[in-house]
């Protein structure tokens, strides 16, 4: 069966905005989503390990990260909506079939996320000043950590299956009842799945390391110099490990799982500098952490965070290009007609800018409050 036969007709409504607009928001949204997502993806696991087996400063780091985790998760879910929304606008013809073929694991993400989120809240109640981390709360924390890793794996399955159309006929025919898929499968036979997922773990380690320095330099006003010194030293080691992991898994992903045409396109022309930058990008935040090993500074911490955001952005752009190359054998997502919804688009952009302004105002008030002594409630 030719997999192209399984791609349905284009929407009679067309794209509501030009493809470039949709894909910019998809990539920007995914970059924003990656920051909190990385923190929960491997951050909780590290936090649990260090809370259990680490020294006093490591436990302090763990508690700091976990206290912030409810907010981090809320923001991560929120930021995840944007790329998912624009994926469904521009990639609907492959997104829906892929997720339906693995419907139950995909659906399970909602259940797992609920459990993991409440698990984090339960764990955090044990971090209050007068509270104790009971075995139940520790178990909740560990469970959440594992669930988030599992969810990452399920997401990787969904998004690799979206481009792995060659597998669709086999998956569909082997897991369906009279042509209707049971939705019980995963995309584990895809050679890109494992290196891609493992590469994300490496990248997530670097983000956690970068966030550790950013937190110590910007938010941890009341923490001791000993903690800040430990945090930068820990972050440097963690970033180094993450970077090596990223390099190894990235090499496996690029040279061991990409098809020759993807490799050829990503290593020629305009894509070559992007591919190189994506590979060597983590070096810049690593150097900026190295520069702060003796003394952490707010300016360098912010610069390092921006550099890490750039690393994630480059990764997101490269992923997008690879996704389009992989799909180009079956579908040209840029070729759909556009029925521009100009006035709703303008209203959205205006609200987006105003919303950013309001968020900036709220954060300014928070920073002001952080600098003042704590008032009684």
């Amino acid at each position: 069966m030719n997999p192209t036969e399984l791609i349905g007709p284009p929407s009679p409504l067309g794209y509501p905005a030009p493809y470039w607009f949709l894909v910019i928001f998809k990539v920007l949204g995914f970059t924003l989503h990656m920051v909190p997502m990385h923190l929960w993806f491997v951050g909780i696991l590290l936090a649990m390990g260090l809370a259990q087996w680490g020294g006093p400063q490591a436990q302090r780091w763990s508690a700091r990260l976990m206290r912030q985790m409810p907010v981090v998760i809320a923001l991560g879910i929120n930021f995840g909506i944007v790329p998912l929304l624009f994926t469904q606008v521009a990639y609907y013809r492959v997104f829906y079939p892929a997720t339906i073929l693995m419907a139950w694991p995909w659906f399970l993400i909602i259940v797992l996320l609920t459990l993991a989120y409440y698990g984090v809240y339960l764990y955090v109640t044990g971090l209050k000043d007068d509270a104790v981390l009971t075995p139940l709360k520790r178990a909740a924390g560990w469970s959440s950590a594992i669930l988030f890793v599992v969810m990452g794996f399920l997401f990787s399955n969904g998004f690799t299956l979206m481009t792995n159309l060659h597998e669709w006929p086999q998956i569909w025919q082997s897991t369906s009842v009279a042509g209707a898929p049971l939705g019980t499968t995963l995309n584990t036979s895809d050679p890109t799945l494992w290196p891609r997922w493992l590469m994300m773990i490496g990248l997530a380690l670097t983000t956690v390391a970068a966030y550790t320095v950013f937190d110590a330099g910007v938010f941890a006003i009341r923490e001791s110099p000993q903690y800040k010194s430990w945090a930068t030293s820990f972050a440097f080691k963690l970033y180094t490990v993450g970077m090596i992991w990223f390099a190894v898994m990235g090499s496996w992903y690029v040279f061991g799982s990409w098809s020759p045409d993807v490799r050829e396109q990503m290593f020629t022309g305009m894509s070559l500098p992007l591919t190189v930058l994506t590979a060597v990008g983590p070096g810049l935040p690593w150097l900026l952490i190295l520069a702060q090993r003796q003394q952490i500074t707010q300016t360098l911490a912010i610069l390092m965070a921006l550099a890490q955001f750039g690393v994630l952005g480059l990764n997101a752009i490269s992923r997008q290009i690879v996704q389009n190359i992989e799909l180009s054998k079956f579908l040209d997502v840029t070729a759909e007609p556009v029925n521009l919804q100009l006035s709703p688009l303008i209203v959205f952009l205006v609200l987006f800018v105003v919303g950013l302004g309001v968020v900036a105002w709220m954060l300014q008030k928070v920073l002001q409050a952080e600098r003042q002594p704590i008032r009684g409630s």
């Binding site: 409504l13 624009f86 609920t114 209707a180 105003v354 704590i374």
Partner: protein, 453 residues
């Protein structure tokens, strides 16, 4: 048809949407009304310098965040997640129509989350005035989220003139928008008061403070109940004729409407007699009864709202079995199996002898062996019927519905479902395909129950 049909045995996949949607509305309305409650009452507590009340409000804000930011947010995403799996074509149409509506809602969602966390985590660390502003940013953003989502969900029930001009704003400000907005705003006020009663009844031992909370929350709740009634009347008046007819015809919906009406009146009376006139009545048991009554009304309302759309998912735009009305003539002429992306691929892979690639020769379908014909009938069932019907057992199981029917009766139904029941989508295949589906349905229909005189 354009997408694979997710087979969920017994329950049917759209029922998963209904389950999540019901859980979600029970929390999302509280997320809106509760935000308003916190904003108004925090202002009152600061103004009267009532420290006990402020302490309670902080405690309530934590409960509020645990319920709304976690469960409310995840189930909200969960609905969207599930509609893509169970009704992909309808989701495709909605996303392409309202992507910027959702994007606008996303902006307010960000504001909600940031302001909610700052409101709670910086309690006592912000100037009272700034603290109140945070609460009002949350309340306004949450209500705007409700406004935006109402435009989209109301569109599904009655898109109005959008069907002709496909204009975003015409679709958004559809005939159902204002009535549903009034009803949902009222619902948010009422339901949040019931959450407050429940929380306060269990958390506060001091009768004076409990009485204060009970009396202050009752007026918004009563106003909310009135808004529900006004919005509900408007909802009914602006229903498409088929939805009104579905409401009148289906006994389950009749029962639910009676339940909704009777329990709303009951809640109104209990609110008036209880917290409004006698705040001391607000015991945990009384609060729990009110809360359960509120949840029942909301769950039933949501079920009715979903059910009356039949035979459409989006009225006059997408049928409940994921077919566009404009596709019907072609499907009837060339065949559903050939017209469907996944059905045609299945036939070509399994039965190449009936295809003259890429067409399917309809006449050859009936020359296949009987088991193969039944299998193709089953394929037709999965794609044409399983959105609303389980097979042998389960939700609206077609086997049970056809118990004792003769093949002629079944064939007549298959070819004219919309004439038998106006809330069923029309048959979208050829006479040969109707024969295949008939053979499959006949094979799963149990005989007429014995022992009847």
């Amino acid at each position: 048809m354009h997408y694979p049909a997710w087979y969920v045995e017994f329950l049917t996949s759209p029922m998963l949407i209904a389950i999540i949607a019901i859980f979600h509305v029970l929390v999302s309305h509280y997320a809106v009304g509760g935000g308003l409650f916190l904003a108004v009452e925090t202002r009152y507590a600061y103004r009267t310098n009532n420290k006990e009340y402020l302490a309670y409000l902080k405690d309530h804000a934590w409960f509020f965040i645990l319920i709304t930011v976690v469960f409310g947010a995840i189930t909200g995403v969960g609905i969207w997640w599930t509609i893509g799996l169970a009704s992909p074509l309808a989701t495709e149409m909605l996303i392409h129509t309202f992507v910027f509506g959702w994007a606008m809602e996303y902006v307010f969602f960000v504001l909600e989350i940031v302001s909610a966390f700052i409101f709670f985590y910086y309690w006592g660390r912000l100037e009272p005035k700034i603290h109140q502003v945070m609460a009002w940013i949350y309340a306004f953003s949450a209500w705007m989220s409700l406004v935006l989502i109402t435009g989209i969900t109301a569109f599904m029930l009655n898109p109005g003139a959008w069907v002709e001009n496909r204009n975003f704003w015409v679709g958004f400000f559809n005939p159902q928008f204002i009535p549903q907005l009034i009803a949902r705003t009222g619902g948010a006020l009422l339901l949040s008061a019931l959450y407050v009663y429940l929380h306060a009844a269990f958390r506060i031992k001091e009768p004076k403070l409990r009485d204060l909370i009970a009396s202050r929350s009752t007026l918004p709740a009563l106003i909310g109940a009135v808004c529900i009634v006004i919005g509900g009347v408007g909802w009914y008046l602006f229903l498409p004729e088929s939805a009104k007819a579905a409401l009148a015809a289906a006994s389950a919906l009749n029962i639910m409407m009676v339940l909704i009406f009777a329990i709303t009146v009951g809640v109104f009376a209990l609110l008036y007699l209880g917290p409004y006139r006698n705040p001391g009545w607000m015991s945990p048991g009384f609060a729990l009864v009110l809360f359960v009554m509120g949840l029942t009304v909301f769950s039933a309302s949501e079920f009715v709202r979903e059910a009356v759309r039949k035979p459409y998912v989006i009225y006059n735009v997408v049928y409940s079995n994921q077919i566009l009305p404009e596709e019907l003539p072609t499907l009837r002429e060339k065949g559903y199996l050939e017209g469907g992306t996944w059905t045609s691929a299945w036939v070509r892979a399994r039965y190449p002898q009936v295809t003259n690639s890429p067409e399917i020769d309809e006449r050859k379908l009936l020359e296949l062996p009987e088991p193969a014909q039944r299998e193709l009938g089953h394929l037709l069932f999965q794609y044409h019927c399983s959105s609303c019907h389980a097979t042998r057992e389960g939700y609206s199981a077609v086997g049970q519905l056809l118990r004792g029917w003769t093949p002629e009766m079944i064939k007549n139904l298959v070819q004219n479902p919309e004439k038998f029941h106006f809330f069923m989508p029309p048959w979208a295949g050829t006479p040969e395909e109707a024969e295949l589906l008939t053979k499959y349905l006949t094979s799963i229909a149990p005989p007429r129950p014995g022992g009847m005189r």
